[in-house]
Symmetry: C2
Subunit: 328 residues, 2 copies
């Protein structure tokens, strides 16, 4: 009987250690950034604290490109679109003589993108519209299963940031509901965010094209139309947050000027809030870019973060590792 | 020591009874409708059953008007709009000579609505747009706190259906995530659905107007614009479900033809699903209407439900009570 009781005690102690005792954010170096996160969460979760937030209001929003996974040298969704052009080309003989497809199929990416936004939009619509929602989901999954990043050789879903995965887990363990609020396509993200980030589709907000409900041989489908529905970037981010979540976040995480309005909206909450910018400062382990970059530019946002005392994370100094350990 | 152990056992037994032993759906009469609900939930939650559904996929969608609360003699949101016209009239002297407002302010509802959809839209936009999102939320809350239904004398939030409240609770107790998918305004519902239905704002989908992010004296606001963004009705319901939830429901609950496409979309799931129509059959305790009604018409939907064997609830026969017990 005594032995049994001892076993129970040991099991309980082990459980308590794994739940409460484990050091949170193990891939974060000790420093101001990590400290500010721990302090905010501690205050938000202690009922006696002036910063206490009831669990239902613990909404945290995360940008995706450059905040949860990498975004260089081009947004991964654009890489998907370019790969789809090659894949779909046999069904589109007309593309051989039509820009921007003709250049792209010849391997001339620069020429293909020379047409600016209009050409880019043509590529996006040709590869993102015209299918049912289910067919598109299959395409995304098939691409992710095989595609590799041209510089790292890694599958794209392994180019997520280990310290941010830990942060997501840590917030959820403290009663936060975590959302993605990304300029990226909502349907490009939803097929994999649950497995990779632990964020279910209904907590993913992104840019979208319109869909139409149709009956096909008595079977209902949603057809993806070549028409923009919503751009979830800059001023669109607070709009998207309000439309999808319907309450104001208490914490917001981004890496670029496109996230600034989301952080402003969060900071203007009538109670304590937390805003954090990830800075790409690590040319060796990732990429280093900020005020001058065409992708993920952080300029106005950096000024505002410095002026308002928002938390700024330096990937080089604050993160022990960038990506999760390789899976075999 | 023995007494203490006995107390523990008793406490545990009481807990087990309250959790597992209590009869579910106490306001439902025994019958085919109640039985079909219990059977579906039992199969969806038992791992050994062929109808088993993992918790993450247990998405249930509910129409609101006529399914969770009453909708006669006019939609409650329209009543809100009409009351707002009176409230806002002092700031709009021009309304005295402008239809549909002039008739409305004279108490001539029929005359005000004679202009059809265009007049109705003018009333909706005049009362729903032009404020910040926060101001609008305050207006809705203030109205609900004082407004009474002209026939029952009840506050509108007490004209929710007790059997449906029990159904929502029962589904959630079995791991379902419950969503509202309503033709009603998303921002008209969100201020009260959590308190009344236990459904948080981020699980409420509805019709919406556009909003714009703006800085006012350095403070960010979202301004409500007089421009339709999305109509969450008929073919719009599967579109809204896909846009907001991103996965297909396994159970859908409605009361009118406006819900038919939502039920079809749910029924076309590649696995067991559950579709239910509430029929307004109780002229004494509520209202009786179906194929001929201009509000909440149930005609094509009823034919399809009968043909496909969907569950049909008769309010008169299946429900012991309509509304929750009165609060004092």
């Amino acid at each position: 009987m005594r032995k049994r009781r001892l076993m129970c005690l040991l099991a309980a102690a082990a459980w308590a250690a794994s739940t409460y005792g484990a050091e949170p954010l193990p891939s974060w170096n000790d420093g101001a950034a990590k400290e500010s996160i721990l302090r905010f969460v501690s205050e938000a979760t202690q009922e006696a604290s002036p910063g206490y937030v009831p669990p239902a209001d613990r909404i945290a929003v995360f940008d995706n490109d450059g905040t949860l996974w990498a975004e260089q040298p081009i947004y991964f969704q654009l890489r998907f679109a370019l790969d789809q052009v090659h894949l779909l080309a046999p069904g589109h003989p007309e593309w051989k003589d039509k820009e921007p497809f003709a250049s792209l199929l010849k391997g001339d990416l620069k020429g293909a993108l020379a047409g600016g936004e209009r050409g880019l939009m043509e590529i996006m619509m040709a590869t993102h519209a015209g299918t049912t929602t289910e067919e598109f989901e299959t395409r995304v999954k098939e691409w992710l299963a095989t595609a590799k990043h041209p510089e790292t050789g890694l599958p794209y879903t392994q180019m997520v940031y280990q310290p941010m995965l830990e942060l997501l887990d840590y917030l959820r363990a403290n009663g936060f509901k975590t959302f993605i609020v990304s300029g990226g396509g909502i349907e490009f993200m939803r097929p994999w965010t649950e497995a990779v980030y632990g964020i279910p589709p209904e907590q993913v907000i992104g840019s979208s094209i319109k869909t139409r409900f149709e009956m096909r041989d008595g079977n209902p489908v949603l057809l993806r139309l070549p028409e923009i529905d919503f751009i979830d970037d800059k001023e669109g981010k607070p709009v998207g947050i309000h439309q999808y979540i319907g309450r104001r976040p208490i914490a917001a995480f981004g890496n670029s000027d496109g996230d600034l309005q989301m952080l402003q909206w969060t900071a203007a909450r009538n109670a304590p809030s937390f805003c954090l910018y990830v800075r790409h400062t690590d040319a060796e382990r990732e990429w280093a870019y900020d005020r001058e970059s065409s992708i993920g530019r952080l300029d106005k946002g950096l000024d505002e973060a410095l002026a308002r005392g928002w938390t700024i994370v330096s990937m080089k100094d604050d993160w022990k590792v960038i990506y999760p350990p390789k899976k075999n």
